[in-house]
Symmetry: C2
């Protein structure tokens, strides 16, 4: 039996100290670094903070269609009963629908938008595919929060994602303000892997999608990272876009305003970082939580296919 | 049997619509309005919003002593077991100690600080006494939030406070920032009384101090008020002071930062607005939650008693 070397051990019975990141933040190396839409200012900021915020990236009309998609999905009784749908533990309302890019053509095209896909390829330095996608909805006065966590910790332990070479995109479908439970991030936290002490329970994902208890960093490590990097909660109108590194610690508080908060969430993973066996769970999570079969590299979606690849016609 | 007329009925079995405020916001009338430290700009703002925020009102050194008082109180095993002390429902840590102005001389003197007492007398148009006081402590990562509510609704229903003629003061002992669960207020909400549908359970206060369920406004009324007035969460350093009208809706979210949040809270009631029998509860709450015996009008505390009342010596 060959034992895999694990760069990021977690879910252990003994306490392990935080581990410095073992991967680059920007995977396009040397002269390839600038082959894409992001300039050096943005690249350096992403390297430093672990996220980039694009206030008002798309127009509101470009994104409002997705709220209608959500309303349509709610009428699908079959889907509503499936594990792909997560209800709010507080209100019982619809909170998340997973694998949205396989349900909705509009969502699929969005994940292949040249602007977003161009940035993501530049950050990951390779072709990419969608590891996970979902639409989130947080009700006014009712939407529960989510404790601090690194997505990579779970994807590594439970999905078998070997390295830190994935980027999450979050596209706001509603305004993000101080009071409707916006995403909070700890700048710089992506540079540290915080192992979790405690084994992964069987089928942990059935609980963890509602309220994560296993895999979250300890309070001491969390306080140190937050005291070092501070906390940021980007605000902006519907259409704003957040790109964040897979190991950046993030959380959200309850929505105590009457204003709902909704966003699309989709994760790009490098095709050179495909899932293996889980590093710390008895079996992999379902395909809709971590793709291991549907891993075709994404091609860009051009809205004008008839002139795509033909260059700009001369004036 | 004489039935009291109740201007603000609540805790009823039938739904009642919101009731417009039946009391002035500033009780000093006509030319008496300007007899005090607040100028017309501040008075008008208080009338409009139902609160005033004084960023950095006291120096940090003036207020840091109170955190030491709290540490001393924690060592008092007898006190810790009493009903006057509220533990956090999440963490089990010390969250509030009531009737602080009767325990701590420093707190008593603070409630009689000429600057604060001067403003409060001007707003309430009479002599005043302390209806309730406490010190609050919200832990990093653990401090629970508090749902939207009007204090007056409870003080009227459960304490028998007849009119809206009370002002709450909240003095920050730590920095108040976006992430440590600061107080949120709905500007203008003090102009509307939102009755609660449902009877007051016996000894409701034993539960309501941990998490209020009875007396909170319905979601529809709340949404209307928040959509009208918006939501504000004043931020500032330790030493900042908030004065807010007894019927202003307020709430706080969980503290998801490592930074604790602590404040002193003390309520001034007009001596012309003394407690009667509860309007909607079987018996009054304890003295430390709503004073009905210790209601001596406050006199100003001068730090230089030897020259108090002597005027400023001539140059």
């Amino acid at each position: 039996m060959v034992t895999r070397h694990d760069l990021y051990p977690s879910r252990t019975t003994r306490h392990l100290d935080p581990i410095p990141r073992q991967d680059p933040v920007i995977h396009a190396r040397n002269q390839h670094r600038w082959e894409g839409p992001l300039d050096e200012t943005s690249l350096s900021r992403y390297e430093r903070d672990g996220f980039l915020w694009f206030k008002g990236f798309f127009s509101q009309s470009r994104v409002s269609q997705f709220l209608n998609v959500l309303k349509e999905l709610e009428k699908d009784a079959e889907l509503m009963k499936s594990d792909q749908v997560i209800l709010d533990p507080g209100s019982g309302g619809l909170r998340s629908v997973f694998a949205m890019h396989r349900i909705s053509a509009a969502f699929d095209e969005l994940t292949r938008d040249p602007r977003i896909l161009g940035m993501v390829r530049q950050l990951l330095g390779s072709e990419v595919y969608i590891h996970q996608s979902r639409i989130n909805y947080k009700f006014g006065f009712q939407g529960s929060g989510f404790d601090w966590h690194s997505d990579f910790e779970t994807w590594h332990a439970e999905d078998g994602m070997p390295r830190m070479r994935a980027v999450s995109a979050s596209l706001m479908l509603t305004d993000n303000n101080e009071f409707n439970g916006p995403l909070m991030l700890i700048p710089g936290s992506h540079q540290t892997f915080v192992p979790y002490k405690g084994k992964t329970p069987p089928a942990n994902w059935k609980k963890s999608l509602k309220a994560q208890r296993v895999g979250v960093p300890g309070m001491e490590a969390l306080a140190e990272l937050a005291n070092w990097g501070g906390i940021k909660a980007p605000k902006g109108p519907a259409g704003s876009l957040l790109l964040f590194e897979c190991n950046t610690l993030h959380a959200s508080n309850e929505n105590m305003s009457p204003w709902p908060r909704s966003n699309l969430f989709f994760v790009y993973n490098s095709i050179e970082n495909r899932l293996q066996e889980p590093f710390a769970a008895s079996e992999p999570r379902p395909e809709y939580l971590g793709a291991r079969h549907n891993i075709q590299p994404l091609d860009m979606h051009d809205e004008f296919p008839e002139i795509a690849g033909q260059g700009v016609p001369s004036l």
